[in-house]
């Protein structure tokens, strides 16, 4: 897309020049020396490109232009065209491309069969069977392309993933139906400090990892040795599973008066636990008493009441029937014909389309098979569910072409899946599926989208789209140096995530203008993050909307999440931040540095001068300056925020200078003024967001033929006053979203480098 923007900028300069004036002489003078006929260095011969007609060889020409633009060619030491000559050449070629693009027949492109990625798999299992499964804990990472992990071409299947699918299907089916009989007698597993199979995260909690083999009820017994001083108040004991608080109970800590040595008590909790490996933590909440105790006293039964064991006793059959089972077993499996009924209903939802009799019969054979092996009909259904969950019809979203090679509207059923995986990262619900089956979905597209956006499942746009667009998913991997950033903690990290997530959610839910991403004067904070920002008056751990009293902050570029993922572990990087803004906000990523040019020398910080002074010295090199003048200025504009997004006015002993002049000549003194300038680029920002979101919605990289659709969407978004909902609606109404090009059976995919630009 980048070359397209350049084309517009330079088209004016080229006006009036011909190929023979603007292009041919440069090739002859500056390229042909090395790239001609027999001496075709690097396999490139310039001669065929000296004619206007050669511009139809688009990919070759895009490479030539790319190299001239980046200064990669001609190489150092060889005669180079003047800047004006190079610009005129680029402008001419780009203008010709733009002209040619207008004549091109509309092409919706085609999306490769996509397997569900980890997030989509988990959500689909949740909506299909009501089972909470976390694929990101079990499956290998999904590779990403164009910044998103839902791109069909890049989502591959390996034997290891297949193994995971198979075992996941077993576990999930067993959890959903629960047909396997529980053991006749409950079993007991004890975790005890004396056996060293328990951890002590702090003085008043213990933690153990336990495998729950059956989804059922268990008694959890907590061993509590010791007693506290007479009159010590009761304390609240909590039980957490995988970080989630399940239940609490008040516990007496003062002497019971019943024993004279080795005081000990036990507490029991009974609750239903999901199958799988889980980390259980038991501890006293807000336990003031232990704060003053030494390590020795904290575990002395004379001085303290503490925790030392967790015992799991079970399984016991749960009292109520689990919801997933009730939903799936719509008749009594023991009765004739019932399994067919159950499997027909479930397969339709699992495959996201009506199923044939033959398909159901094939699934029904698993019931027969299980019975032949002495299992129950329910176990047979469970086996059939397993089979469904590893079927390509479930794991892949495959769109069919009626006639090869022809552009055609996708079916209503495919559209239902496109919509639901775009907005929910999950399967279509009953309403979407029913409308699609009745071929009514297109007619109700807008109503359905508005309904879907109101659904709580739409939060996956914030998690999966925004988390990747804004790169905030990387918060789990960054490790700010605790020496430089002592306040960094998992709590702070989670608060940062929540801020950006709620902000995105709010803009979407309230249909606010996209420009608020750039300059909103409000955000979402809890006490932890507000303290980090130095904003007074925010008490308590819950997040709430806060309007800024000063203009230190505004928009996502002042969110700590964004500022942290665009920093090094020890300090800020104006280059990374500048690149971030160009790539994710303005949609004009800088080209990669040409080979042999050393990366910027920004490591010597603090020795000879401020980071800024050193970088400006470096920029005196013309090769570096062409890109860094664009990039660094934006990064420096954010220097008031440190490597974890905290406000600062000094960097070591040097005053922060956050001023800058954009290549267009506009200048700013503060981050607030930079925001104003960025807001002047609102059309570029919304085009950038359109491109990102269209990529995500389609699950493929954008191609040259998508430019028209992007422009149309963006114009309508601008026309609506940048409304968020307009962006979503227009993407859903766009040609690449609604239609698809067929593929000739033997035609080899001929994607070229343009896909990577």
């Amino acid at each position: 897309m980048r070359s397209f923007c350049f084309g517009l900028v330079f088209a004016a300069i080229a006006a009036g020049q011909s190929f023979e004036q603007a292009v041919q002489p440069v090739l002859a003078k500056n390229c042909a020396g090395c790239h001609q006929d027999r001496l075709a260095s690097g396999g490139f011969n310039a001669t065929p490109y000296m004619k206007l007609a050669s511009l139809t060889q688009r990919d070759d020409w895009e490479r030539i232009v790319q190299r001239i633009r980046t200064g990669e060619m001609p190489p150092k030491g060889a005669p180079r065209p003047s800047e004006a000559e190079a610009k005129a050449l680029i402008a001419f070629v780009e203008a010709e491309f733009t002209k040619a693009d207008k004549l091109v027949k509309p092409d919706p492109g085609r999306v490769t069969a996509r397997r569900l990625n980890r997030a989509e798999y988990s959500n689909t299992i949740r909506d299909l069977l009501g089972v909470d499964f976390r694929a990101e804990r079990d499956f290998p990472s999904d590779d990403s392309g164009h910044g998103f992990d839902n791109i069909g071409d890049v989502l591959t299947i390996s034997p290891i993933l297949m193994e995971k699918y198979l075992t996941a299907a077993e576990r999930i089916a067993a959890r959903a139906i629960g047909a396997d009989p529980l053991p006749k007698k409950p079993l007991e597993f004890e975790y005890h400090t004396k056996d060293k199979n328990i951890r002590r995260p702090n003085k008043s909690s213990i933690e153990a990892t336990h495998r729950v083999e059956w989804e059922a009820e268990y008694v959890i017994r907590i061993g509590l040795p010791g007693e506290r001083a007479a009159g010590a108040p009761p304390v609240k004991m909590g039980l957490w599973m995988d970080g989630k608080l399940l239940t609490t109970k008040m516990v007496e800590t003062k002497p019971s008066g019943l024993v004279y040595f080795n005081p000990y008590s036990a507490e029991e909790l009974r609750l239903e636990l999901p199958e799988g490996d889980h980390t259980f933590r038991v501890g006293f909440i807000d336990d003031e008493f232990v704060k003053g105790l030494s390590d020795k006293d904290a575990y002395s039964d004379k001085r303290n009441k503490f925790l030392n064991s967790i015992t799991f006793v079970g399984p016991f059959a749960a009292k109520g029937e689990r919801a997933s089972r009730k939903k799936l077993l719509i008749c009594d499996p023991k009765l004739a014909g019932c399994s067919t009924k159950i499997l027909t209903a479930l397969a339709r939802r699992a495959y996201r389309r009506p199923v044939t009799r033959a398909e159901v019969a094939a699934l029904d054979r698993f019931v027969t098979l299980a019975k032949a092996d002495g299992q129950s009909a329910e176990q047979g259904i469970q086996l059939a569910v397993q089979a469904m969950l590893v079927s390509p019809h479930f794991l892949f979203r495959i769109e069919r072409d009626p006639a090869s090679g022809v552009v055609h509207p996708i079916s209503d059923l495919d559209l239902a899946s496109r919509l639901s995986y775009f907005l929910w990262s999950s399967m279509p619900d009953e309403q979407l599926l029913a409308l699609a089956e009745a071929k009514q979905l297109r007619a109700q597209l807008d109503t359905q989208i508005k309904r879907m956006l109101k659904d709580v499942k739409a939060v996956s746009l914030a998690d999966n789209f925004a988390g990747q667009w804004l790169e905030t998913r990387n918060l789990d991997q960054v490790k700010p140096d605790p020496k430089k950033f002592p306040e960094w903690s998992p709590d702070l990290r989670d608060a940062m995530k929540t801020e950006t997530r709620m902000f995105f959610q709010t803009l979407l839910q309230e249909n606010r203008p996209l420009t608020e991403f750039l300059d909103a004067n409000y955000t979402f904070l809890n006490d932890r993050l507000a303290a980090h920002y130095g904003i007074p008056g925010v008490d308590g751990p819950e997040f709430r909307r806060v309007t800024f009293a000063t203009n230190e902050r505004g928009g996502i570029l002042s969110h700590a999440s964004v500022l942290t993922v665009s920093s090094y572990p020890t300090r800020t990087s104006p280059v990374i931040r500048g690149k971030y803004v160009l790539q994710n906000i303005l949609g004009t990523p800088p080209p990669p540095p040409p080979p042999d040019v050393p990366a910027l020398d920004e490591e010597k910080v603090g020795n000879a001068g401020s980071l800024r002074q050193q970088m400006e010295a470096h920029r005196s090199s013309p090769t570096c300056a062409s890109c860094h003048s664009r990039m660094d200025v934006l990064g420096f504009g954010l220097e008031n925020y440190d490597g974890t997004g905290k406000w600062r006015t000094k960097e070591g002993k040097f005053e922060i200078d956050a001023s800058g002049t954009m290549p267009g000549g506009k200048s700013f003194q503060t981050p607030a003024e930079m925001r104003t300038i960025l807001k002047d680029n609102a059309p570029e920002f919304s085009r950038c967001l359109t491109e990102k979101m269209l990529t995500y919605a389609l699950g493929r990289g954008l191609e040259r033929y998508d430019r028209k659709a992007i422009e149309e969407i963006n114009q309508r978004v601008i026309g609506s006053g940048y409304r968020f909902e307009t962006l979503i609606l227009e993407i859903a109404h766009s040609l690449p979203f609604l239609e698809r090009r067929g593929e000739l059976p033997k035609q080899v995919s001929t994607k070229t480098e343009s896909a990577s630009r």
């Binding site: 990472s141 297949m162 299907a169 495998r211 390509p392 995919s749």
Partner: protein
């Protein structure tokens, strides 16, 4: 250490709270394998990113190894097992006509000797040499190959200058467009190798295996019917799916046939340890057992990702690895890079020690292995692709005829393709290949002189 049901009484399978009871490494419990046949040769590739400080890697002299340079120092006790190979080049890692992106390029094509396609989407590398061997001999073991790593894939953003993250996330490639992701979580590796710990009777196990196979039959039929009407791109996706299904079918059959369960002699690990050395040790302990029990003969180990900015606070280094390698000759930064390089080799040496401690026939496990430790860049600052740091450890079947001598450094002619080494190693594994990557022939000196 491992035991199989064939070799040991079932009473040794003491089962506690759902996990196997740890047993010491005892030679008496080695499987029936060693008694019956000659030990097989194993092959592994260990990849470290961002190059290595070559000043502290290359010894001054050719020939017999004297005192090892700083980074290799941890290998001192096993010097006689080490062969240093100098002047090997991976030409496909270079830009040629593709511009920037050395990090993105040099890992994905490292084991295949090709230049990967510069793209974010329609990825194309080549089949890697470990997979060529796995295709050839993998049927003899439960797992044709194992892929292991220590660092999770980047979750968002681009990887390097227009290269898909698939190239930096994966070392092993089963085909041009089918990377094999490494297993990162010790628990997942444990469950894959030694079972998920479910308490099943032999009858229940047999039934599960049978049912799994009937499911695989079902989806194979489904897929073939589905493929009939698809275009070539979508068909290719389903081919990947089918070939993975076939792999698992074979695994199941193999497991049914030898009906043995390997006891790894360790408790099932939970989650990924925060400490690098601990993570490294957990994974390599299991890899050792996998080699020893002949669960596989081929492994790749992607220590961390190319271009990684991982900080090594374990040894007091707070800066990211990649930014440090662009050190512009600042002594302080170069020092930190050398420390990271040494730290990696220290962990690797501990693994080699373990391999060597395991007796096999008249020698040890390391005698029957070829472990290559290397990187796709030599100078990480300038992104050079020649004289790549390459260390071969192990005798390559020393207990048999023609093992690798070790204890020396061989300096090849400049620009000798890395592919020549891999071609030679494939020979040694008994896999005959005529053409491979940019190989121009075999390399000399990897035989017993």
């Amino acid at each position: 250490m491992m035991i199989t049901r064939k070799a040991l009484n079932r009473r040794t399978f003491l089962r506690g709270a759902g996990t196997a009871v740890a047993l010491p490494f005892l030679d008496a419990m080695t499987p029936a394998l060693t008694a019956a046949t000659k030990a097989p040769v194993r092959m592994a590739f260990v990849y470290v990113p961002n190059g290595i400080d070559m000043r502290h890697w290359n010894p001054a002299n050719e020939g017999a190894l004297q005192e090892l340079p700083r980074i290799l120092k941890p290998m001192e006790p096993f010097k006689q097992d080490v062969t240093l190979l100098s002047n090997l080049t991976h030409n496909g890692g270079r830009a040629l006509l593709d511009g920037a992106g050395d990090h993105g390029r040099c890992c994905g094509g490292y084991l295949s000797g090709v230049q990967v396609r510069k793209t974010m989407v329609d990825i194309k590398a080549g089949i890697s040499c470990d997979q060529i061997v796995a295709n050839d001999i993998g049927r003899q073991t439960r797992f044709p190959s194992l892929e292991v790593g220590l660092e999770d894939a980047r979750q968002a953003g681009d990887c390097d200058s227009g290269y898909s993250c698939a190239y930096t996330n994966n070392l092993a490639w089963r085909g041009d467009a089918q990377p094999l992701p490494p297993v990162l979580d010790p628990r997942a590796l444990f469950e894959r190798l030694f079972g998920d710990g479910a308490n099943l009777s032999p009858e229940q196990k047999a039934l599960r295996s049978k049912q799994r196979r009937s499911i695989l039959d079902f989806v194979t039929g489904d897929t073939k019917a589905l493929q009939a009407n698809l275009g070539p791109t979508d068909k290719r996706k389903l081919d990947e799916y089918l070939s993975s299904i076939r792999d698992i079918e074979r695994q199941l059959l193999k497991a049914e046939k030898d009906n043995s369960q390997v006891n790894p002699g360790m408790d099932k690990p939970y989650g990924v340890p925060a400490d690098f050395a601990e993570h490294f040790k957990l994974m390599t302990d299991m890899m050792t057992v996998a080699f020893q029990a002949d669960l596989t003969r081929v492994m790749t180990f992607l220590v961390t990702r190319e271009g990684t900015s991982r900080a090594y606070r374990e040894i007091g280094i707070a800066d990211g690895h990649h930014p440090l390698t662009h050190h512009r000759n600042e002594p302080e930064m170069m020092e930190k890079v050398a420390q990271i390089n040494t730290y990696h080799v220290t962990q690797f040496a501990a693994w080699m020690e373990k391999m060597k401690s395991i007796r096999e026939g008249d020698g040890n496990l390391l005698d029957n292995s070829m472990i290559v430790y290397g990187a796709g860049l030599s100078d990480g600052n300038r992104h050079t692709h020649e004289d790549l740091p390459t260390m071969m450890v192990g005798g390559g079947g020393r207990s048999m005829n023609g093992g690798i001598k070790g204890g020396r450094r061989i300096v090849y002619r400049k620009e000798t393709p890395m592919s020549n080494l891999f071609l030679t190693m494939m020979d040694r594994m008994g896999t005959k290949v005529d053409h491979f990557g940019d190989a121009t022939g075999r390399i000399e000196g990897l035989d017993l002189l």
